[in-house]
Symmetry: C2
Subunit: 331 residues, 2 copies
DNA sequence: GTTTATTTCGGAACCGGTTCCACTTATTGA
DNA sequence: TCAATAAGTGGAACCGGTTCCGAAATAAAC
């Protein structure tokens, strides 16, 4: 591997001149040619460590992700990655396997490695997060959750909840089980439910019950089975697509046909909801686009430009077979 | 951020002594204490760039992955990541979005960044790959494909194909459509098919036709639709779970019931095959475990220890509802 | 009580870049 | 034509570590 000194010697100039050439300083035409040729010959490319050592900064954005094996995560990562590449930045992923401790460790570790900025695919913001972010003094961007101290990019959970509520009501459903998650997750556990509630409040005579379950499919399936027997809802409005999948499994095992005997909706727009049969009606979020926006924003922040504190990413209701139109059913 | 010089001053010693302390050289008890305290006070941690600059090497394993949004990829990455963490290495992911050019670029880029080793989740090994790997002189490990020049970790595609063939025959199927992929992918396109063929050769009177499609669901769906009309197979043996999902979609849209009118099998063991209804019978590979083994192996190679050239990861046939037992059907 | 071997430690060079500063040369203006 | 200004270049210091080497201090050997 050749160094800048090799190039300098080959071109017959000082290494400071080569450096200036590389970084766009003033260099004469003749020397430019010589340096260019030397670089061609050797295939030289600067040692990034030496650069970062001097610059005290890298062009890497550390991205903390709670899990790699989720549709939302991977789509978001893809968006971030592609956009960062275009902006000449790199993405470094830290997978925390849903361990909040590791998120904190990753923050400090990223700081130690002089990351230019940090993106956190957030599920929950604790005091430790706040403390860590404030002590490292690196630009931070949250995706998926908002917090007054930090810039963030969120999905339009409230409006999606509202739209989903309206959709369900329009289709004629009135006996509704809302299967949500913990309220520690503001976006998924609180916002979606609040939006949904507002839609419900606009009609009368509605029998809605709110339940809480976990994010994984088996837990959702167990909860659903219980609710089916106890409440006998006409529809499950689930806070995530995975929960909706759990409901689907429960209804198969109970011999209930969807959408004839029971309807289901989700949130997320995961690929799988369109692959299976019946397809699940869901509020699709644009994860990849959100990732792209996040990448653009963190780079802006790194370069000390201003960015809106909160950016809201859009959604879209996708209608599939898991919800019937009760009003058009033959009596 | 404090430097090694700050620590040296605080402890009243030379920075070489601090460095020796950090790297386990000979340091007196008294000075040890002083340095320890200075480090405690400042929360010092060495600048990794300065270290790498001198060492000309990092403890990072570059991992090249063709796509992030696939079950196999993310499971493998999780396995690699977890194991590398335990071995005090880091993983850096480069997503190439199924672009072979980018794989080559990533190889050179990793070399430039002085990665300790490279893991490639391979789909196809071209001459350019070989040239790149040989010129960078960094330990390399292939996952998913084998090549005589490199160490590799592969899934037991041939045996899985054979086992799947036996399974299908045992269930009484004789009119079979094998829906495979391009033979440029040795593991998926060649090995699985070969194993399957061997099983077929062991029986007589078998009407098997081999087809080729792409890896994505819509393409598989289109192919399946055509084959259904043209050949009317009793079962589709698909080279991947995604292709099996395509067949499922095609049969829904054609009004064919699975497994009553048509059976389907896949390869991979993707989560989704167990979530949907009917579940798909598949040959499950152990991606996460494979990733863990890969991580162990690349670290061995980095440390110049010997590793078997080819390691074969196991599989398991998972029986689900998508295949019926024809022999037990009431006539 | 020397001599020799061992341990501990500081100084300096080095890794491969960037940047400041001073010097030379060319250009411009009066 | 000469001073003032700008452009181009080299030298040296610096970023924050590691490592080699030799000196000093301590321990062991005789």
């Amino acid at each position: 591997m050749s160094t800048i000194l090799d190039i300098a010697k080959l071109a017959g100039v000082a290494k400071s001149t080569v450096s200036r050439y590389l970084n766009g300083g003033s260099v004469g035409e003749a020397t430019k040619k010589k340096i260019e040729q030397a670089i061609q010959e050797t295939g030289y490319s600067p040692n990034p460590f030496a650069q970062s050592l001097k610059a005290k900064k890298t062009n890497i954005i550390g991205t903390i992700v709670p899990r790699l094996d989720s549709y939302a995560s991977s789509q978001t990562l893809i968006g971030i990655d592609e956009q960062l590449k275009k902006l000449n930045y790199q993405m470094l992923i830290s997978n925390t396997s849903q361990n909040l401790e590791r998120e904190i460790e990753s923050i400090y570790s990223f700081a130690n490695q002089k990351m230019a900025g940090i993106i956190l695919l957030a599920t929950e913001i604790t005091d430790q997060h706040i403390q860590a972010f404030e002590s490292v003094k690196i630009p931070v961007l949250l995706i998926g959750q908002e917090h007054k101290n930090f810039h963030s990019l969120i999905h339009d959970d409230y409006d999606a909840g509202y739209a989903m509520g309206q959709y369900v009501l329009e289709k004629g459903y009135r006996k509704i089980a809302y299967l949500g998650v913990t309220e520690r997750d503001i976006s998924v556990g609180v916002k979606r439910k609040q939006g949904f509630k507002r839609a419900i409040q606009e009609v009368e005579d509605c029998d809605v019950r709110f339940y809480e379950t976990l994010f994984n499919i088996p837990a959702a399936q167990a909860s659903a089975k219980e609710i089916i027997h106890e409440f006998k809802p006409a529809i499950f409005v689930c806070a995530t697509d995975n929960i909706a999948l759990g409901v689907l499994k429960a209804s198969y095992s109970e011999g209930i046909t969807i959408p004839r005997d029971l309807a289901v909706t989700g949130f997320g727009g995961y690929d799988v909801t369109g692959i299976i049969h019946p397809g699940i009606t869901t509020a699709k979020f644009f994860y990849k686009e959100a990732g792209e926006t996040a990448a653009r924003h963190i780079v802006e922040l790194v370069n000390e430009r201003t960015v809106e504190k909160i950016t809201v990413s859009k959604f879209e209701i996708i209608e599939r077979e898991s919800v019937d139109n009760l009003l058009k059913r033959p009596l």
